[in-house]
């Protein structure tokens, strides 16, 4: 029977069998060092029969036919195929110096890099190790073309956003993140546990259907190797953090002079009589910023036995904030387990579990805003009791003293996977991915009084507490059938299904009158049970998805590549008749370098042309079709509040997800013995059915009523066009010396091509009382800035008289020293119809430049990141007569021939504070993200105690940033409508790091 099957094997795969079999034995070694390699996979080509090398690199394979070809595979090494001639076969493997043999995960399957027909970026372990990100997302910044990373804030634990090939949507631009097959997030993972991060940027990601439009980030975490003794690694680092920037504001003397001038200009009495004694006054920024500590410990054990592989790690990260470290910090703990067991030859079981806890404290974003605007003439601890600064600016340090809160989260995520290989070439995988996350928060608002009528005052204390649970379970089953027909026709077929359920449950409560007005008593149970404002609420969400997918990958001789896939998704959160759709893509590639005319080229080692096209979805628009009674209908009857029932936001029964159509044409080229590798891509994406929130509708629909709202409508199309270029140059690569340069640049242009039912959508906010500064409008990039265009400063009355009247802007007196606005529509008057495009929040170009190398025991690396061609709105000034001001006011207009850009100071009504390009700055920057030097100790003397590696290093993150932008941090989020408006964002920290890596 067995022979019959064996015979069938050989017939099927077209090999001629000889009757004679032998037992093959050999040692597998590393080509350069000559050290033995355990855990190398040895398989007879075309069969599933095989073994692995043991601790000594020795393998044994019984009953092999002479003439069979053995395939030796080991991660990070070039695959080797050797024909069996006799009973001993020793093999040495070479390190895969060129990345072409790298295995790339492409979603429900893997491919060799050289066979990939989509646009893919890869970040490996070494980059993560060098950059030491707290959130692994940061490692993508500058290291991967087409990927931009933005910090929402520099605060510890703040969310990091990824944009793949620009901003397309107003709703959600975050890519799907798949960790080892389960849907997760990068911020819950210990970056040290990550083996590699793959980014799918084009239509190849259509295998993820309704969730793939923003690109897909695939994370593979580490696992041990079979037959390998345990390797223990301990990594630690400590860092001192400082703010990367402080803003130049007026000191007390400058401030008093400037105020006096403004008061005098409007004929008011001077606020400061004696300026001589004021000196520098208080520097509130100085008081707010502090040096802060960052610590990380990480320990891992990995290895494997005959039938098992494992990886276990634990880590802890503690980060204090660079502002008010007592009030802002972040702690994350991780425990990770990866375990793979071969139950039988045909059945493999693996389990992945990542348990994590996070804790953080934060404070209101307005602290920095207050720090900037508070008058330097006040003492550090002095409150503005007389309302000198109006009602909206308070002492930031008093504000911090009244800030109390905590946040804790904990979760477990991972998957259980069974892989079954019933017949050769066919693998059936069934896996359950899960993520269970619980978090809770508590914030206490004491009774506060910062001076008469301040808006921050509270007359009663309150505590707000909440608990939330979110659970995600995804059960996926898919089969991969990989087969070569008639020698040259390589085919892989995938068929699968996925079922997902996301549940969310939260309870929120506010209690009033906390005993003793103290955080120590800030618990709901202690608050006033009778108080009318005591509030209890809950939230619930249930999302379900059912999907089917299929993919065919085919190549002829590895030269002509093709793949096609289709996925059907149905989601519970849309109208029943509209909830299902098909997504598809087709990709193709041509390995030109395999053609005869290039085969022997000395210059060109590898050349592949590839193209892809397909449709993908962005899963947003949930439950918009439902008409809920969520409005506010409260009125006062019999002198007491009575809650009524009213409609909430207007439903949109037609609501659906957003759809992307993506085209990519790319080229992969390796030159000069693979020393130079180049990847070039051109891409286009049309994002259709863009959801537009708060879609303006006629007021007669009653959407302005309390708790009401305009519907969210699929009503726009935007188009991203761009290109990527990445080049890697291996200048030196020997055992002792290496030097590598990598550069990548991405250009993206966004253009809104359609906004149904109206010319534009507007949003964002600037200062107080200004019209919305951001727009989505046909022909412009999404969220561009719309305001007045300045044309210098009026130098004298004659210039004022010669210019069209600016009275239509509000202030009816224009004087020399006021800003001159351009009459964009040439109608002879300046009014709000003269607003125009004055910038956009997204960069045209973003690029990274990385150098790394080693010399003997020293290693070093450097990562630069740059964004060019974006604008930022300076919105951290509160234009009140007495608020402190940036020191650019020192260069203000003070008479004819002085400044032609900065207007005069006055307390009179002027049009100078209207949203114009005066407040829009070039946000381009170049940042040295990381520079690092490491030293590897000679461990030969330490080998007795088991030390295999000992390295110390020092590095600096964010050492410098070159920019013309005057705010804290030009890396401010470049999203859609309302993005790029800087209200005093928490700056990124500069980090001086000292670290240690030990391996046993």
């Amino acid at each position: 029977m067995r022979k019959q099957i064996t015979l069938l094997f050989f017939i099927l795969i077209g090999f001629c069998a000889t009757a004679q079999t032998i037992n093959v034995k050999g040692v597998v070694k590393e080509a350069v060092s000559g050290s033995v390699l355990p855990g190398v996979s040895v398989v007879i080509k075309g069969t599933v029969k095989g073994t692995e090398s043991d601790f000594d690199g020795v393998y044994n394979l019984m009953n092999v036919n002479a003439g069979d070809i053995l395939v030796f595979r080991y991660l990070g090494y070039k695959q080797k195929e050797v024909a069996v001639l006799n009973a001993t076969l020793n093999v040495s493997l070479e390190i895969a110096t060129e990345a072409l043999d790298e295995i790339i995960v492409v979603g429900y399957g893997k491919q060799k890099r050289k066979d990939v027909t989509g646009s893919v970026s890869l970040v490996g372990e070494e980059t993560l190790e060098a950059l030491k990100p707290i959130d692994a997302t940061t490692a993508l910044q500058g290291t991967t073309s087409g990927v931009a990373v933005n910090l929402s804030s520099g605060a510890p634990g703040a969310k990091v956003n990824i944009l793949i090939r620009g901003v397309s949507s107003n709703t959600n631009n975050q890519p799907l993140t798949i960790v080892d097959g389960y849907e997760g997030d990068l911020n819950s993972i210990n970056p040290n546990d990550i083996e590699s991060i793959t980014v799918l940027k084009d239509a190849q990601a259509a295998i993820y259907g309704i969730k793939g439009a923003n690109g897909v980030v695939l994370v593979t975490t580490k696992i041990g190797k079979k037959n390998k003794a345990p390797t223990v690694k301990y990594d630690t680092y400590a860092a001192i953090q400082q703010t990367s920037r402080k803003l130049d504001y007026l000191n007390a003397t400058e401030y008093a002079l400037v105020l006096n001038e403004a008061y005098a200009a409007s004929g008011q009495s001077l606020p400061f009589g004696n300026i001589g004694q004021l000196g520098f006054g208080s520097d509130f920024q100085e008081e707010l910023f502090n040096d802060a500590l960052l610590m990380n410990h990480n320990i891992s054990v990995s290895g494997g036995g005959e039938n098992s592989r494992y990886f276990i790690s634990a880590s802890r990260t503690e980060q204090d904030g660079i502002i008010a470290k007592e009030n802002s910090n972040f702690v994350r703990n991780n425990i990770k387990l990866n375990l793979g067991i071969d139950i039988s030859e045909k059945l493999n079981f693996s389990v992945i579990a990542n348990y994590f806890t996070t804790a953080s404290e934060g404070f209101a974003g307005s602290v920095l805003f207050n720090g900037l605007n508070y008058a330097p003439t006040f003492a550090i601890d002095e409150d503005d009791t007389n309302n000198f600064l109006g009602i909206e600016i308070i002492n930031p340090l008093s504000q911090l003293r009244n800030t109390f809160g905590s946040y804790n989260g904990s979760g477990i995520e991972g998957n259980f996977k069974l892989a079954y290989t019933p017949i050769e070439d066919l693998t059936i995988t069934s896996r359950v991915g899960y993520k269970i996350f619980n978090d809770k928060g508590r914030s206490f608002t004491p009774i506060q009084n910062y001076g008469a009528s301040k808006v921050f005052n509270t007359t009663q204390s309150s505590v707000y507490q909440y608990k939330q649970t979110s659970t995600r379970v995804v059960w996926e089953t898919f089969a991969n059938y990989e087969k070569t027909f008639a020698k040259d026709h390589n085919t892989t077929f995938t068929l699968g299904t996925s079922v997902q359920n996301d549940l969310f449950d939260g309870i929120y409560a506010t209690g009033i009158n906390v005993p003793n007005n103290s955080y120590d008593f800030a618990d709901l149970s202690l608050t006033d049970p009778q108080n009318e404002q005591r509030n209890l609420n809950s939230g619930f969400n249930d999302l379900r998805l059912i999907s089917y997918f299929s993919r065919l990958q085919y190549d002829y001789k590895g030269k002509y590549l093709f793949s096609g896939l289709v996925r059907r998704d149905a989601a519970s959160v849309f109208d029943k008749d509209l909830r299902a759709d098909y997504f598809w893509s087709a990709t193709t590639g041509w390995k030109i370098s395999d053609e005869n005319f290039l085969k022997d080229s000395k210059t060109i080692n590898f050349l592949k042309l590839r193209a892809s096209f397909g449709t993908l979805g962005n899963l947003v628009g949930n439950n918009l079709n439902r008409s809920f009674l969520s409005g506010e209908g409260t009125y006062v009857l019999d002198g007491a509040l009575v809650d009524g029932t009213a409609q909430g936001r207007i439903p949109n029964p037609q609501a659906q997800w957003e759809t992307a159509e993506k085209l990519d044409i790319g080229l992969d080229l390796n030159l000069f013995n693979d020393k130079v590798s180049i990847v070039v891509d051109y891409f286009e994406e049309s994002r259709k059915n863009l959801l537009i929130e708060n879609f303006p509708v006629s007021g007669i629909l009653g959407t302005s009523a309390p708790g009401g709202g305009n519907p969210t409508v699929n009503a726009g199309t935007s188009k991203n066009t761009g290109g990527e270029f990445a080049i890697n140059y291996k200048a030196l690569d020997t055992e002792n010396t290496s030097l590598n340069f990598a550069y990548n640049v991405t250009y993206v242009k966004n253009k809104v091509t359609e906004v149904t039912g109206g010319a534009f959508i507007e949003g964002g906010s600037f200062a107080i009382g200004n019209l919305a500064p951001s727009r989505m409008e046909v022909g412009q990039s999404i969220g561009y800035f719309y305001g007045l265009q300045t044309d210098g400063v009026f130098q004298n009355q004659a210039e004022v008289n010669a210019h069209p009247s600016q009275n239509g802007l509000g202030a009816t007196v224009t004087s020399p020293g006021d800003i001159r606005y351009k009459d964009m529509n040439k109608d002879g008057v300046i009014d709000f119809n003269d607003r125009t495009n004055i910038g956009k929040p997204q960069a045209d170009f973003f690029m990274g430049f990385n150098v790394s190398g080693k010399y003997k025991k020293w290693d070093f690396s450097m990562y630069l990141y740059s964004e060019l061609g974006k604008e930022i709105v300076r919105n951290y000034e509160r234009f009140l007569p007495n608020s402190n001001k940036p020191n650019y006011y020192l260069g203000r207009w003070t008479g004819e021939g002085t400044s032609n850009s900065i207007p005069r100071l006055t307390n009179e009504a002027t049009n100078n504070k209207l949203f114009s390009d005066f407040f829009v700055e070039d946000g381009s920057f170049l940042r040295l993200q990381n520079v690092q030097v490491g030293y590897n100790f000679d461990v030969s003397t330490l080998e007795k105690v088991g030390v295999a590696k000992l390295r110390i290093y020092t590095s600096v993150n964010n050492l410098f940033t070159l920019t013309d932008y005057s705010g804290y941090d030009p890396t401010i989020n470049g999203g859609a409508i309302g993005a790029g408006i800087d209200s005093g964002n928490y700056p990124s920290a500069k980090q001086f790091i000292l670290g240690l890596n030990v391996e046993f």
Binding site: M1, I5, N386, N387, I391, P422, I423, I428, S430, A452, S453, V455, N457, E476, T477, T497, S498, E532, Q533, F540, D542, R544, L545, I546, Y548, S572, V573, R626, S627, F628, E632, T634, V636, L637, D638, L641, V642, G644, T645, A646, Q647, P696, V697, S698, G699, I700, L701, G702, S704, A705, P706, G707, P711, G758, G769, L809, G810, A811, F832, A909
Partner: protein, 513 residues
């Protein structure tokens, strides 16, 4: 061979069964939990109707913008505020240079239609569930719809109306603006239903009564110059209704005077719930009050507290008060006089060198020295929730009995067969209270009496948002600085609305889009 076939067969069965189990079917998607009520399956009990009615009252609170901007539009006050550009929409209305681009007018339009739709929601489902006393709820819903529509027709003239219920998406492109006469007929029908189904007493303080509906109907007639009808229905309010003139004019505008004997209809406010600028219409307090306060920088000065210095009365307005008119002190706060009095009091009480407690304030834009005392912020209770500027609890005295008397007086004077005796009787009742004696009675008749009634309305109702509309409906708009006849009688339809209607609605006369 068999084994292999078996293996393949097993594989197929495994795959197939996994797919069946795994994939189930789209039915799986139907069983999601929602925990939310749907608007179209509501109105299943009396409680549901009541609850929807409460929500229909709620938008009355957003009429603060009508009152504030209406007063600013008149010749009584200037816009004020922090700077010229503080609220450009108000400023433009004050200067009569407003255009269809005006976010305050757009708010007013949208908020009032919000009210119309909340009331119409109940009317649309009025036949779904029966219970005893339903006609009261429907009567109040129709009163409210009339109230909101009357505000809209006052400001914008012709408006779209939909008798059967709420406006839906797309109606703006199909339903025309009904001419004013049709709108008024629609309002009259709603009010007549309310008059015949409501009684003079109400189950809860704050809800509309028969008297509220009659008084509003009288006003609606007056705005159409239907003086005979107005006189008749207002006569009912005066003779059959339970209302009296509050003897102390000052008491009316203090907390103690809320929902008093002269309150025909009041918009209810409270300060126990917080609010923010993000959603002014969500406030349960009277937003207009905080807007009108003095910009004190020295805290509270019993009985007043700080605000934003909008809507400041002009000297010309203050001069309208005759000597001996007690209303002047109630209606107008002369800030310099107030500060001086307080200084003297403090100096008498304490250390003369300590000037910390002296009232201080910053000058707002267009400072006149006067504030709208009826509706400036009072010192608040300990329960008051912030932002205190937005949660002042002062009820808006929407229809006062004095207003009813003056309307009745005008209707009797101007109807086709005038009854000046009755007109003078009602007018002089108001004046007797104002002067505290009967020595200042008006004795003229005819148009002289008409003018006296107009003048009386101005001083009696100053600061309450009526003057602009009184001037316009009586053809005296040109008294307003900057007023253009044949244009400023109505406000422009917000430009956004013209665009939404895609040509169905045209702009009001004199305004260009």
């Amino acid at each position: 061979m068999k084994n292999r076939t078996k293996n393949i067969a097993t594989s197929i069965i495994i795959i197939a069964s996994l797919f069946i189990v795994n994939g189930c079917s789209d039915d799986y998607l139907d069983n999601t939990k929602v925990y939310a009520e749907d608007s179209e399956s509501f109105f299943n009990s009396e409680a549901d109707y009541y609850s929807a009615l409460v929500a229909a009252y709620d938008p009355l609170q957003s009429t603060y913008i009508n009152v504030l901007m209406g007063e600013i539009a008149s010749n009584n006050t200037l816009c004020g505020g922090e700077t010229a550009t503080n609220v450009p929409g108000y400023q433009q209305v004050d200067d009569m240079i407003h255009s269809p681009v005006n976010s305050e007018l757009q708010s007013l339009w949208s908020l009032m239609f919000g009210g119309v739709n909340r009331a119409a929601y109940i009317i649309e489902f009025q036949d779904k569930t029966d219970f005893i006393g339903k006609e009261i709820i429907i009567g109040e819903a129709r009163f409210l719809r009339a109230y909101y529509n009357f505000e809209l027709v006052k400001w914008f003239g012709a408006i779209p109306i939909k008798a059967e219920g709420r406006f839906g998406v797309g109606d703006e492109k199909t339903i025309p603006r009904s001419p004013k006469a049709e709108v008024y007929a629609f309002i009259e029908a709603d009010l007549k239903y309310a008059v015949s189904n409501l009684s003079y007493t109400t189950p809860q303080v704050g809800r509309a009564t028969k008297g509220s509906a009659e008084a509003l109907l009288g006003k609606v007639y007056l705005y159409q110059d239907k003086f005979t009808e107005a006189a008749a229905v207002l006569e009912d309010v005066i003779t059959k209704g339970p209302y009296m003139l509050e003897t102390d004019y000052n008491k009316i505008f203090e907390a103690a005077g809320e929902n008093g004997v002269g309150a025909v209809f009041e918009v209810q406010y409270t300060d126990v719930e917080g609010a923010s600028f993000d959603c002014l219409q969500c406030s349960e307090g009277n937003v207009a009050v905080g807007f009108q306060g003095v910009r004190f920088t020295s805290g509270e000065h019993e009985p007043y507290t700080y605000g934003f210095s909008f809507n400041v009365p002009t000297q010309e307005m203050v001069d309208q008060f005759e000597a001996g008119d007690n209303r002047k002190e109630v209606a107008i706060l002369d800030i310099d006089a107030f500060v001086e009095v307080r200084k003297q009091e403090l100096l008498a009480d304490s250390d003369p060198n300590n000037d910390d407690d002296f009232p201080r304030y910053t000058l707002g834009y267009e400072h006149t020295g006067f504030f709208n005392k009826k509706y400036i912020p009072r010192v608040r209770s300990a329960n008051a929730a912030g932002d205190l500027n937005l949660t002042n609890p002062n009820n808006y005295r929407a229809i006062r009995f004095a207003d009813v008397l003056l309307m009745a007086s005008e209707a009797n004077n101007r109807k086709s067969t005038p009854n000046d005796t009755k007109a003078r009787l009602y007018l002089n009742r108001v004046r007797a209270r104002a002067f505290g004696n009967t020595n200042n009675e008006i004795t003229t008749g005819g148009t002289a009496l008409t003018d006296a009634i107009y003048q009386e309305r101005r001083v009696e109702l100053v600061g309450e948002g009526h003057q602009f509309f009184d001037l316009v409906r009586t053809g005296r708009g040109t008294q307003i600085p900057g007023f253009s006849t044949n244009k400023n009688e109505l406000f422009p339809i917000p430009i956004e609305e013209i665009q939404f209607s895609q040509g169905k609605w045209t702009q009001n006369k004199g305004y260009t889009n």
